[in-house]
């Protein structure tokens, strides 16, 4: 009898513990933090193509290489265009600083010098694509509120439905983003952007996803601007993670000496 009681206590402990674990569903903020923290490698080197399609169907293609480095929680990235000839050598450098400040620099071969550019103009389109500077920056998780509103399948991938709204005082062009985030890879596969008036203005999609070197990688993405009828596709042609690059290769020096 006594031994049965003891066994009963043990079982209660075990079962209660597992129930407790299951009852702790992930919050929206936790999901957002997971997305922020997901493994993107300590660094990466890649080449990509960007195609801009206007409303009339006119296409403009750009090719660029990119290097990204994450050190002590701060990211720096350099993008250098290699084609077409009229933008060959144009480079863009962004450096995160503590406190979520970002420095941005633009090198134009015609000017033969680097210009410091305004990083606070988030709504500016990056090289006339449908991605704005805000879309390309990382944002503090604390600047927004989050709510998981359900689940949805994208292809065969089960996804969280996450709504994100800015906190008061957050400088952003969006009043709401609605994301579908893969439960398996924690990659946002689909994002709808809403402006300050609540209009759905842009849609981002991951068209091809693959795990490369163990890291889930968006190989082909699109951003559609519903207001302008304009679309941008980016295709990653080659990427290598965790290779031997350092800060020197992602600096103003390397921007000017490409």
């Amino acid at each position: 009898m006594k031994s049965l009681k003891t066994l009963g206590y043990i079982i209660i402990v075990l079962v209660t513990s597992s129930f407790y674990a299951n009852a702790q569903e992930m919050t929206g903020k936790e999901l957002a933090q997971k997305v922020f923290d997901r493994d993107r490698g300590n660094n990466s080197v890649s080449t990509a193509q960007m195609v801009l399609i206007s409303k009339s169907g006119n296409k403009r293609t750009r090719q660029f290489s990119s290097k990204r480095l994450l050190e002590e929680g701060l990211e720096r990235q350099i993008i250098q265009f290699t084609a077409p000839a009229d933008i060959d050598g144009t480079g863009f450098l962004t450096i995160e600083k503590p406190g979520w400040e970002t420095e941005q620099f633009l090198y134009l071969p015609a000017l033969r010098r680097t210009r410091r550019i305004v990083s606070s103009q988030k709504s500016q389109r990056f090289v006339n694509s449908d991605f704005t500077y805000e879309d390309m920056e990382r944002h503090s998780v604390d600047d927004y509120t989050y709510e998981i509103v359900g689940s949805k399948l994208v292809g065969n991938l089960d996804c969280y439905m996450l709504e994100t709204r800015p906190q008061k005082g957050t400088d952003t062009q969006y009043s709401l983003t609605y994301s579908l985030i893969s439960k398996q890879s924690i990659v946002p596969l689909f994002v709808k952007y809403y402006d300050k008036k609540g209009n759905h203005i842009k849609t981002y999609k991951v068209l091809k996803l693959e795990q490369i070197q163990g890291i889930w990688t968006e190989l082909t993405t699109s951003m559609e601007n519903l207001e302008k009828g304009h679309k941008t596709y980016i295709k990653l042609e080659k990427i290598t993670y965790n290779t031997d690059i350092d800060q020197e290769q992602i600096s103003k020096k390397s921007l000017e000496n490409y």
Binding site: T6, I10, K59, D86, R112, Q124, E237
Partner: protein, 649 residues
């Protein structure tokens, strides 16, 4: 022995169970849970395969396997977490097409590291696969040399034979190495983890595949590249204002540049410039444009050769950017950067943690290109032609026709310059010093004496010039003097800064020049110290309208009223406004430079068309205003339309 109360026993068990639950992960993480049992090398057609057999499959919530390539020397590194290898530092040479050596060891307490050393000078691709072979969990590393710049199909084909390394290293006992010669692959059971799946296609968007099929693969960046620009600019006077003027001009520039690894740059310039039809002139140059060797290392960088070095931060007018001379034959019609002339320089940069020091040595002097006579933009305009067409006596006409310019280069041509740059918070700062020879001429003497011109070389001005002039002819009524021109040495100390403030880019420069040459009413020069500064800001709206506004002030110390075109204080507003008309391929813009002292100014409205790839068409006008004794005003009869077409390749 004291018998414990049942209640106490139960309580103790409860807390014990709880503590086990809480501590279990910590306890279990102290020892790797997986073990490397053996490994095998398999050489297939165009593929080298390394198979590492494990005790159990390395699955779990967080990625257990990380892998990456390293260079110098070339190697592939695979880390398997929560795994240990019983033996210390295995190293095995192989005879693979790509893999020449396999090393396995314990990298950290919980991570086994596999390193594949790759043959030098080959291109390869690799893939990591987790699968079960002969009911054993494995990590398979497949390395495929790239044959014809296309990635090979890494899906493994069943093979009938394979080779393997037999035997053991007698010096280091190797019980892990399997010597069996079992047939590979045929009926293995694949239990691929999510990591091993290929691309996952989402959303039914076939446009992406189609457009990237059209564009094809990106060209690999070659060590050697050829590029260039083909440019044609033509101008047409808006109206005929003067008796003698060039109604049209044509400029054709071709630059072909070759680069090797961004270390060596060599370019050639073909440059044709025509003014006409009145007072027609043309000039053609085929020159070495740039020829430099440069290297950038972590702590220093240098460049030697014929090159451009751009200092300063401001746009279109940069007081500290004094290293390169300018081609002013078309005045300011070409953009500032286009006007710059590359010269021979040696430049050394030293990079420190918080600042950089740059030193520049210029061994040979090269002046700015300016025409003295015969074009709308020349210093003395169409003076000779005007006099030729006037009613003055033939000897006088001959006298002026034969006036020529004699330029004297200083004996010591070398220049040196220093620049110290740093960044503080988000402000870039620079201090400069340049011991230089002025690129623009100093008129030491003019063969016609006792003259007092206003700077306007109109027929009326010339008539008054001749009335009061004292000529210095020889017995043949030929001028016995040339216009003597020198190039004077001076020192320029400067300051530059650039930052961002809210939504504005802010930049500025200031330069003190020890002595600067100015043309006077006697058509000789005087030299005065000057202080010039520019401060400006730019802003881009959400709709991509670009606004650039700069304020400039030039102060001439010890000013004398005989100086032509400039007052003691010259205050100007200059900049550019630009906006998209249709998408990003049709823009309208306005460049401006307005003198606040006397409302003389320059306006250049334009349309820019860039619909066709690499082709830029600029159509606009250059409009000058102000009194004729002002810098812009004395060109007011030169208002023109221009068409500028550039093609880059």
């Amino acid at each position: 022995m004291i018998k414990a109360e049942p209640r106490i026993t139960s309580t103790l068990l409860f807390f014990f169970g709880l503590s086990v639950l809480l501590l279990l992960p910590a306890v279990s993480s102290a020892l790797p849970s997986n073990r490397v049992k053996s490994f095998r090398f398999d050489k297939q057609i165009h593929q080298d395969i390394v198979i590492v057999f494990l005790e159990k499959s390395p699955l779990g919530k967080s990625p257990k396997i990380k892998y990456y390539a390293l260079h110098n020397p070339e190697r592939i590194v695979v880390d398997i977490k929560d795994t240990f290898v019983p033996q210390v530092n295995i190293s095995r040479k192989t005879k693979g097409e790509a893999v020449k050596n396999i090393r396995i060891g314990q990298n950290t307490k919980n991570t086994t590291r596999i390193v594949l050393d790759i043959e030098e000078d080959i291109q390869y691709d690799y893939k990591i696969i987790q699968e079960t072979v002969h009911k054993k969990p494995t990590v398979k590393i497949v390395v495929a040399p790239i044959q014809n710049e296309e990635l090979p199909d890494l899906h493994l084909q069943p093979t009938s034979t394979f080779s393997e390394i037999n035997g053991t290293n007698n010096q280091i006992p190797d019980p892990l190495f399997e010597a069996s010669a079992a047939k590979y692959n045929e009926d293995k059971t694949k239990t691929e983890s999510p990591e091993s799946k290929g691309p996952i296609l989402l959303f039914d968007d076939t446009v992406a595949d189609n457009i990237f099929d059209e564009t094809g693969k990106q060209d690999k960046k070659s060590d050697f590249s050829i590029s260039g620009i083909l440019q044609v600019r033509t101008t047409l006077q808006i109206k005929e204002d003067d008796a003698v003027e060039n109604n049209t001009s044509l400029r054709n520039r071709i630059i072909v540049e070759t680069k090797y690894k961004n270390m060596l740059t060599l370019s050639v310039l073909s440059d044709y410039l025509y003014f006409g039809p009145e007072d027609e002139t043309d000039e053609y140059d085929l020159d070495l444009y740039e020829a430099k060797w440069q290297s950038i290392e972590k702590n220093y960088g240098f460049s030697i050769g014929k090159q451009f070095i751009r200092w300063g931060k401001t746009d279109q007018f940069s007081p500290v950017d004094t290293l390169n001379p300018q081609d002013l034959r078309e005045f300011i019609l070409p953009d500032y950067e286009e006007r710059k002339i590359p010269i021979w320089m040696a430049d050394l940069n030293l990079f420190f943690d918080n600042f950089n020091i740059e030193g520049t040595f210029i061994p040979f002097f090269e002046e700015s290109r300016i025409d003295y006579f015969g074009t709308n933009w020349s210093i003395f305009g169409h003076m000779k032609k005007e006099i030729e067409n006037s009613a003055v006596s033939p000897p006088l006409k001959t006298y002026f026709e034969n006036i020529s310019v004699n330029e004297t280069i200083p004996d010591t041509e070398a220049e040196f310059a220093l620049r110290l740059t740093t960044s503080f918070k988000n402000i870039d700062l620079g201090l400069t010093f340049h011991n230089t020879i002025e690129d623009t001429p100093y008129f030491k003497s003019f063969p016609v004496k006792n003259i007092n011109v206003s700077g306007d070389f109109s027929p009326e001005d010339l008539a008054s010039l001749l009335d009061s002039a004292t000529l210095m002819p020889n017995e043949n009524l030929m001028p016995n003097e040339n216009i003597e021109v020198e190039f004077k040495r001076t020192n320029i100390a400067g300051l530059e800064f650039e930052t961002t403030l809210a939504d504005f880019g802010v930049r500025g420069e200031a330069a003190w020049q020890e002595n600067e040459s100015f043309l006077t009413s006697s058509l000789t020069s005087t030299r005065k110290p000057t202080f010039t500064y520019v401060i400006g800001a730019d802003y881009t709206t959400a709709k991509n309208t670009y606004l650039n506004l700069q304020f400039a002030h030039r102060y001439i110390a010890n000013y004398s009223s005989e100086i032509l075109y400039f007052e003691q204080d010259t205050l100007s507003l200059l900049g550019e406004i630009r906006t998209d008309i249709i998408s990003d391929w049709l823009q309208a813009g306005l460049k401006y430079n307005i003198n606040l002292n006397n409302t003389a100014g320059y306006l250049s409205p334009y349309l820019k068309y860039t619909y066709i790839k690499n082709l830029e068409c600029l159509f606009g006008a250059s409009l000058f205003s102000g009194d004729k004794d002002t810098w812009f005003g004395h060109f007011k009869d030169n208002d023109l339309f221009f068409l500028d077409i550039s093609y880059r390749f």
